[in-house]
């Protein structure tokens, strides 16, 4: 076998390792129900949950609760299966949080609270959002 063949095999092996490692570390999009299941099964992997803020019929946001020292806050999020869940985030409320139409929280359950390490917000795009007045 030529050296260059050996070299090629090594490169392919490295590529496969990279793909496997990525697959191993990749997170998943789940619902709150599945996330809770994962955590009770002892899997502490961080997951992504997509959902919306809980709103009243008038569109008012419900369950938003800033901490007394303003350094963190919690809110109620509704996932795609309509399950409501209290989410805690250890940063002050992001500026456009209340206007977001979709929220992705990345984190895991701790007891009955979902603790988010990161919140990604999808705000209505500029084009729909603005009104010509």
């Amino acid at each position: 076998m030529k050296k260059s063949h050996l070299f090629g095999i090594l490169i392919i092996a490295a590529c496969i390792t990279i793909i496997m490692a990525t697959a191993g570390d990749a997170s998943t999009y789940v619902s709150f129900g599945e996330a809770q299941q994962l955590s009770t099964n002892g899997k502490a992997n961080k997951v992504h949950v997509v959902g919306q803020l809980k709103k009243s019929t008038e569109g008012e946001i419900l369950g938003l609760e800033p901490s007394s020292d303003k350094l963190s806050f919690s809110f109620v999020m509704v996932d795609h299966n309509n399950k409501e869940q209290k989410v805690f985030y250890k940063e002050p409320m992001p500026a456009d949080f209340t206007r977001s139409e979709q929220v992705v929280v990345i984190g895991s359950y701790r007891d009955n609270i979902f603790v988010a390490d990161q919140i990604l917000m999808k705000c209505p795009s500029k084009y729909q959002e603005k009104e010509v007045s």
């Binding site: 990279i18 990525t22 500026a95 603790v115 795009s125």
Partner: protein, 864 residues
């Protein structure tokens, strides 16, 4: 009035630039395929078409800028990206804030590069095939901003759309000629000088990757399998330098403006540039190998094509909307994904098919590289760079994988790794170690002939120096993490070994030092990243032990922010803090002005001074003056006193309250020291728009001269005075009317406040105008005057004092990163110049030497 002319002109220029690029492409293809006089006349024709294309592109650029500059808000682009209050230099950045404008910038650079190639390519053999590729790319890019609808198919998104054609607002039904009075403004995060300079550099970097690709395709097409490398090499190095500069500028912008607390976040948008850049550098190295010993030609072809394809793929990722919620700052989806996909596949498949049909004809060398040859080490280095880039490419493509699975009816719920920074660091760090070691070792193989003995001798001294240096640094900087020790040692090794080569080369032939210099720069960047990221320290950890959250949060979270009340000293690790209040920038006034001195007006660009402002003995404005400022920018003055040595400095992190952008946008302020930065940024401030909760009114009776407490502050009623005019209220006083003002002085911790509630009797009606000091959360009303007891009844309401929530992060060694970047770019510059001289023919002799020569030591060492 609607200025339709300029928009129509702009749109005409877009269509014309599209057509001329197609004409140029067709004519250049003809010129490339023919061999007689016809070819010459086709080439002349094609060149004319490309010149015309360039002119049309300039026309598009001019039209769009004209619309933005003149505030023609009837145009959607101007309305949605600019506003009246925007300073001129930021009008340049709103030019490329939108997708259409950034495509335009890209197109413009291609024109500049194309014209440069036509002018510099004197022997003309490359012009036709290379420019054919250029013109085709231009046609695809111009189609992105074409804005033509054929049937149900929309081709491109034009920047010259009128607002009324884009928005479905009722106002246009009433008045089709309605023009909004002001635009909605530029995203405050882009109002930074780096956003004026970073996008053009980055897009020049993107644009320059087309040059190597075009030469490579031209070489394959015209069966000049070897000679394309020579003119390509200086362009490839130039491209790597520009792209690298663009990447680091973006990082620096993110560091200065965004608030994630760092300069690199492994966001897909960042990765989309990083991945092709690494492959491009790998390609440069294999081309250098080819120039030296005729091997690695096929690898070079693959890498040059891969670089351009990865640029297209990155474009597709960031502009098609496929990233969805995985990226914080991808462009808005303009519905161009189909077009982008065609663009990407056309050149990807075209290049692959062309390379495949020519593959057998491409000359190869059967020589096996010895482990003691320079080429072997460079090749390993190039492979490492490719794997490094592949490792970033795979996770970045997860949204594409999901979309593909779903396109075939499957369900895929793979998400990117939850902690991106930790995930990428884990792998990239080891690649970086390998790159540093290889870039150091490869340099010792100047002479072709190297054996074990020689290598040992060469390596001994640098190794000893490296180990000594790294031991000292590990002890001094208290590095305990084994991984960081390895990275530090590898980086130092690269600096030391490249440095020793540099010294030798500089004596022999200065022109050849480019590679060593660039390697030293890269190694410094690694060490800078190691310290600034690995040892970045949050200094604003909450140590007050306050109950952080009421309710049922399971455990105490480690909170990285602090809450500091106005004028209330706060002890943070290493620093004593004092938040001194909100400040504004006023035009013509150096530094910052207290917000209390400025009364906002209806015009967001103007304020009225309510007091005099002097600084360093010079008076800048006095009470009643109108001053120019930007209402939405507020700077928060925070004084830091180091607890270690008592040194003091003041930082002004910025907050922008902009309803359009959704409340608060914060930009950090950074205190630079030689060995570290202290980085602070605002996380939360009291919301002024909110209805203040003033609580219950507390009544108190006081006499003149009496001291009393107001919201825990000592206050004194200094006196009562009759006033003829009531400040802050439009009240006409008649001869029978009376207005008195109480003068209450409140002794704050840092400064005193005057409160002047007013009591009015007008037309026998009693009125009270309260006086407010927001900063100390106090509002006082003069409720009643009792002449018989000579006392006054005050109504006191209290609310929250002004405060700021912010975080502070220390970043040691970050200057090594920036210095390394500059050195790297200089190295690229030297290397590009040297390769350019090669092309011109007065450089080194062509290195395709015969075998006999190769056995001898090289006279002119070639360094990548």
């Amino acid at each position: 009035m609607i200025h339709t002319f300029i928009g129509n002109a702009g749109h005409f220029f877009v269509v014309a630039s599209f057509i001329t690029s197609l004409v140029a492409a067709y004519a250049y293809i003809q010129a490339a395929n023919l061999h007689n006089l016809n070819a010459q006349s086709w080439r002349r024709y094609a060149r004319g078409a490309f010149y015309l294309h360039g002119l049309m592109v300039v026309g598009v650029v001019f039209s769009l800028f004209y619309i933005i500059y003149n505030h023609y808000f009837e145009y959607h682009y101007a309305w949605s990206h600019s506003s009246l209050s925007l300073p001129t230099h930021y009008m340049i950045s709103c030019f490329w804030e939108g997708q259409e404008g950034s495509f335009l910038l890209w197109i413009f650079w291609h024109v500049v590069l194309g014209l440069t190639l036509i002018q510099t390519n004197k022997d003309k053999q490359w012009e036709a095939p290379v420019m054919a590729v250029f013109a085709l790319v231009q046609a695809f890019l111009a189609s992105m901003i074409l804005g033509v609808v054929i049937g149900d198919v929309k081709i491109g998104s034009s920047p010259f759309m009128l607002l009324r054609d884009v928005m479905d607002a009722p106002v246009f039904a009433l008045n089709p000629d309605y023009v909004p009075a002001d635009g909605t403004g530029l995203n405050p995060l882009l109002q930074n000088y780096w956003m004026v300079i970073h996008p053009p550099v980055l897009f020049l970097g993107y644009a320059t990757t087309l040059v190597p690709f075009a030469f490579c395709i031209a070489g394959l097409w015209k069966k000049k399998y070897e000679s394309w490398v020579k003119p390509t090499l200086p362009w490839a190095i130039f491209s790597a330098a520009i792209l690298g500069t663009g990447i680091v500028m973006g990082a620096y912008w993110a560091y200065e403006t965004l608030n994630f607390g760092g300069y690199w976040n492994w966001d897909p948008v960042e990765n989309a540039v990083y991945v092709p850049w690494l492959v491009l550098i790998a390609g440069i190295h294999t081309m250098v190998i080819f120039k030296n010993n005729n091997t690695a030609l096929k690898t070079s072809i693959v890498l040059v094509i891969a670089t351009f394809v990865l640029v297209l793929y990155g474009t597709f990722l960031t502009r098609s909307g496929i990233l969805g919620d995985t990226s914080v700052h991808a462009f808005t989806d303009l519905g161009l994904s189909g077009q982008l996909m065609i663009y990407m596949f056309f050149f990807t498949l075209g290049a692959i098919v062309l390379a495949a049909t020519r593959w057998k004809e491409i000359p190869t060398s059967d020589k096996e590289a010895s482990a003691y040859s320079r080429e072997f080490w460079i090749f390993i280095g190039a492979t490492t760079l490719c794997l490094m880039s592949f490792q970033v490419l795979v996770p970045t493509s997860i949204p594409v994988y999901n979309a593909l699975v779903e396109a075939f009816g499957g369900i895929s719920n793979v998400a990117p790794p939850a902690d991106q920074v930790a995930f990428y660091t884990k792998f990239q760090l080891w690649f970086a170690v390998a790159v540093a070691l290889l870039s150091g070792t490869g340099q010792f193989f100047f002479w072709k002939k190297m054996d074990k003995e020689k290598l040992k001798n060469e390596l001994a001294l640098p190794l000893v120096v490296t180990l000594l240096l790294s031991a000292v640094i590990i002890v001094v900087a208290k590095i305990t993490e084994p991984v960081y020790m390895v990275l530090l040692t590898a980086g130092l090794y690269s600096i030391v070994s490249n440095g020793s080569v540099l010294v030798r080369l500089a004596k022999a032939k200065v022109r050849l030092v480019g590679g060593s210099v660039a390697h030293i720069g890269i190694a410094m960047m690694l060490i800078g990243v190691l310290f600034s990221a690995g040892y970045s320290k949050v200094v604003s950890q909450n140590t007050t032990g306050m109950l952080i959250f009421k309710g049922d949060v399971p455990e105490q979270e480690n909170v990285d922010n602090v809450l500091v009340w106005l004028n209330d000293p706060y002890e943070m690790q290493d620093y004593s803090l004092l938040y001194k209040g909100q400040r504004k920038e006023v035009e013509g006034v150096p530094g910052y002005v207290d917000k209390k001195l400025l009364q906002p007006t209806e015009d967001p660009r103007m304020a009225v001074a309510v007091g005099n402002f002097e600084k360093d003995g010079k008076k800048y404005f006095s009470k009643g003056d109108s001053v120019k400022y930007i209402a939405e920018n507020t700077f928060h003055e925070i004084e830091f006193t180091s607890r270690a040595n008592g040194s003091q400095f003041t930082l002004y992190p910025r907050s922008q309250v902009n309803a359009e952008m959704g409340g608060l946008a914060a930009s950090p302020d950074i205190h630079h020291e030689l060995t570290r930065d202290l980085y602070t940024h605002v996380k939360a401030i009291p919301n002024e728009e909110d209805e203040k909760d003033w609580g219950e009114t507390k009544e108190m009776n006081v006499k003149i001269g009496e001291r009393f407490f107001l919201n825990d502050y000592v206050a004194v009623l200094e006196g009562i005075k009759k006033v003829n005019q009531v400040a802050g209220a439009d009240v006409d006083l008649g001869p029978e009317d009376l207005a008195v003002e109480a003068q209450i002085k409140v002794f704050g911790k840092q400064e005193d406040y005057m409160l002047t509630p007013t009591y009015i009797i007008r037309d026998r009606m009693v009125g009270q105008i309260p006086s407010t000091a927001n900063e100390i959360g106090l509002r006082v009303t003069l409720l009643n005057i009792s002449p018989e007891t000579n006392s006054f009844t005050l109504g006191v309401n209290t609310t929250q004092k002004d405060y700021i929530v912010f975080s502070a992060i220390e970043k040691p060694g970050i200057n090594i990163l920036w210095a390394g970047t500059i050195i790297m770019v200089i190295g690229f510059g030297i290397a590009a110049y040297r390769r350019y001289k090669d092309v011109k023919g007065d450089g080194e002799e062509n290195n395709k030497n015969d075998d006999k020569k190769r056995l001898k030591p090289r006279k002119n060492p070639v360094v990548a």
